[in-house]
């Protein structure tokens, strides 16, 4: 029986601000899963803290809503334990790049087959508008009244420089385009980063829907995402233009594929055999 949008329907009341970019992302995720014909019980969404990570509650789907910034660590282990699940992580820019920065780097190293969708609005929304790791230098917020004195992180460049095996950027209002990216990311066998730009309609008066419409452009068929230096050049290019699309991909074995080779899996389904310990006794004689 084919999966339908109805399968993913949740009756939990949505706590996002009216007009929030998260609505577009939620819509895109649900439609992507349906288009990939994945039933909710075969999908696990891991998330943490903030507004973005509430997303799985607004769907009917396996959900691990854990700690702030730790969603990638938990998702990595969940994938190793139950590798028959499609594992997706939703995090804000604060969770993924701030609190969880170290886990982000090491997930890239592992190339674990999960898809990290970062809701990047350059703002800490839920704590009321402080600068996030991707906020512009000079941004004035309640915590940075003299303007943010830090340079923004470039997560795409960081990921590409570390050979992240799938790097894409979407925009929350361009749903059809985003669905295309999410499908490719989920089908990619390795760690996929999809940075989704979204306006924070409550706190950020600069990066509005209009701003993104004016500055974003979609990469065309002439762009090849397999050249790492070209990809870096693209995301490091100065200027106001923001590329959307699959920016970089490479093929290398996924962590779960390597680690679970010749190991009975999913680990979830293993029974208990105390005798297996006695078979190790010869090591101690």
């Amino acid at each position: 029986m084919a999966a339908t949008l109805d399968d993913y329907k949740s009756d939990v009341e949505i706590a996002w601000c009216p007009g929030c970019g998260n609505f577009g992302i939620l819509d895109a995720v649900k439609r992507t899963l349906v288009e990939l014909d994945l039933p909710p019980h075969k999908v696990l969404i891991c998330s943490g803290i903030g507004q973005a990570p509430k997303l799985p509650h607004y769907m009917h789907v396996n959900t691990f809503d854990g700690l702030h910034g730790r969603e990638v660590a938990s998702a990595t282990a969940a994938k190793l334990a139950a590798d028959d699940l499609v594992v997706i992580v939703h995090a804000g820019d604060g969770g993924a790049y701030g609190e969880g920065g170290n886990h982000f780097l090491h997930a890239i190293r592992r190339n674990i087959d999960i898809t990290l969708i970062v809701h990047d609005n350059r703002t800490y929304g839920l704590t009321k508008g402080q600068a996030s790791p991707t906020a512009d230098e000079g941004s004035v917020t309640k915590l940075q009244p003299r303007g943010l004195a830090m340079h923004p992180m470039n997560p795409l460049a960081l990921a590409i420089s570390q050979s992240c095996s799938f790097v894409a950027q979407g925009m929350s209002a361009r749903t059809e385009h985003l669905i295309g990216l999410l499908k490719a990311a989920i089908q990619h066998k390795g760690f996929s980063l999809v940075n989704v730009l979204q306006p924070c309609v409550t706190w950020d008066k600069v990066h509005t829907y209009k701003y993104y419409e004016e500055h974003c452009y979609e990469l065309g068929p002439d762009y090849s995402p397999t050249d790492r230096m070209k990809a870096l050049e693209l995301v490091l290019a100065p200027g106001p233009k923001i590329p959307l699309g699959i920016i970089y991909t490479e093929h290398r074995p996924s962590y779960n594929e390597v680690v679970l080779k010749d190991v009975p899996h999913p680990l979830r389904d293993r029974g208990i055999s105390p005798e297996s310990a006695t078979r190790l006794f010869p090591h101690f004689r």
Binding site: V12, D65, R70, T76, A77, A81, E275, L280
Partner: protein, 578 residues
Amino acid sequence: MLLFVNLNYSWGHIMDLNIRITGAAGQGIQTASDMLGRAVTRAGLFAYSYNDAESRIRGGLNFAHLRCSDKPAMGVSDKIDILVAFTQSALNEFGPGLAHAAVVLTSGDWAHPRRAPYQLGPLATQAGSAKAVTAVTFGAVGAMMGLERDILLKIIRETFAGDNKLIEININALNSGYDAASNRDSSARFRMPAAEKIAGRLWISGGEAVALGAVAGGVSFYAGYPMSPSTSIITSLASWSNETGVVVEQAEDEVAAINMVAGASYAGARAMTATSGGGFALMVEGLSLIGMIEVPAVIALAQRPGPATGLPTRTAQGDLNFVRHAGHGAFARIILAPRNVHDCFGLTARAFDMAEKYQVPVIIMTDQLLQDSYATVEPFTVNGFPTARHLLYGDQLNAMDKYRRYAQTESGISPMAAPGVSKQVVVVDSDEHDEDGHLIESAEIAHRMAGKRMRKAETVMRLTEAPLIEGEVLGRPLVVSWGSAYETVAEARSVLAGSGKQFAHMHFHWMWPLPRDGKIAGAMSDASSVIVVENNVGCDLESILRETAVAEVDRTINKMDGRPFTVAELVEKLGEVM
């Protein structure tokens, strides 16, 4: 039961040979001790070793202390019968004040009145490598103990398996050490009694026994960051992974490790981590997550002295109160502290079953002493160990209209399902949540869900085990200890009994929850005085007994130098207060 009833502390009819191998880090002290312990075990005798090492890779002053007997003797001893010194500074440190009967083996030509007439270093060099001093020592001490040469040769071949050149050098070295010691007149002094060779016994450390217990308990996923003195657990599990299929993940940090344990456990794997105090501190938010989302977790905490980095390679029992209170918010937990190498195995295996059955974190507290102590033990038995998982089956779940991860129950324990085994979805949330697992703000639901967790905590509070009590309590001093201190206190008890000072010994390995049946308080009030012995500055067990109104304690004997209590030390300190 007491194993040393007739032990004569100096020389008696039970053999008690103490060998201290000393020198710098990287000189093979541990290897020599390990090979000797293995040989003694194969000869049908018992060995026990503990390690004293500095936090460095090369140099410094380290030792391994090996105790050999015809009975299990696992108390920490500082008596020295044979001193092996690989450096002059080690000889300077341990050489003075040796007993008249002691013998000293040295690598170089360093003066000591009781030095053997041969030197280990030149014998090693003649055998082909200065590094083979380990094998020379093995041979010399093995010969002094009267161990069969063939047993030693076989161990050399196993230790250096895969490198024929090294085997040849080390066999030469072993033989030269063996011959040098055999030719010496007085070597018969240290000869161990002949014993029947028992094939099944194991020579194993506490850390390895924890790892082995984890395998018996069904661990399938381990995530951890190496930290002394816990590292032997991850090392062991990794080294057996081809045989066991356990997935061992070296996490980027301890925060990742505990959140991985939570994620793997949610997804249905039996998951574990191990660390020391500093790493555990990093894991505390994750511990609270595990409490909130009610997933099983087994966490081994190998203690070392704090605060902060403390003494990284040394021992303490200073984290019990920390572990009991760790984590914001209130949630159930179980804390166990194995009393010896043997106990590490069974308690760890049980921890996995309880963690899953009650959906709680179970923390196993060892320390550097226990982690790094090797002992000859009878093979662990797994008879009666639980083999059932405590998860709903796919068909049970498919028959349900809707699965609720946090369904209200009388016990507070909600039937647990893993994702992907049925058409049901499994939702967990670190936010306060409803029965479905979705985040909520409702006061009424929040009250009910907190109530569920508190009913679960009450259910878990009934999971207790009475402390071990040895000896007659009525009218006598009662010495109370916990975790790794058991063997040393037990041996001090038998030594003092030999000089007419009787005390009873109460030992805890089930640290939390404590029984609330009044029996501990009853025993304590029967005693003439209550003395708590623990290797910390904070009187952890003493304060728990006091805070939980289990009992008042008269006196504590503490130690805060990062070294374990020794039998002689406790005999003296306990003797003074009795």
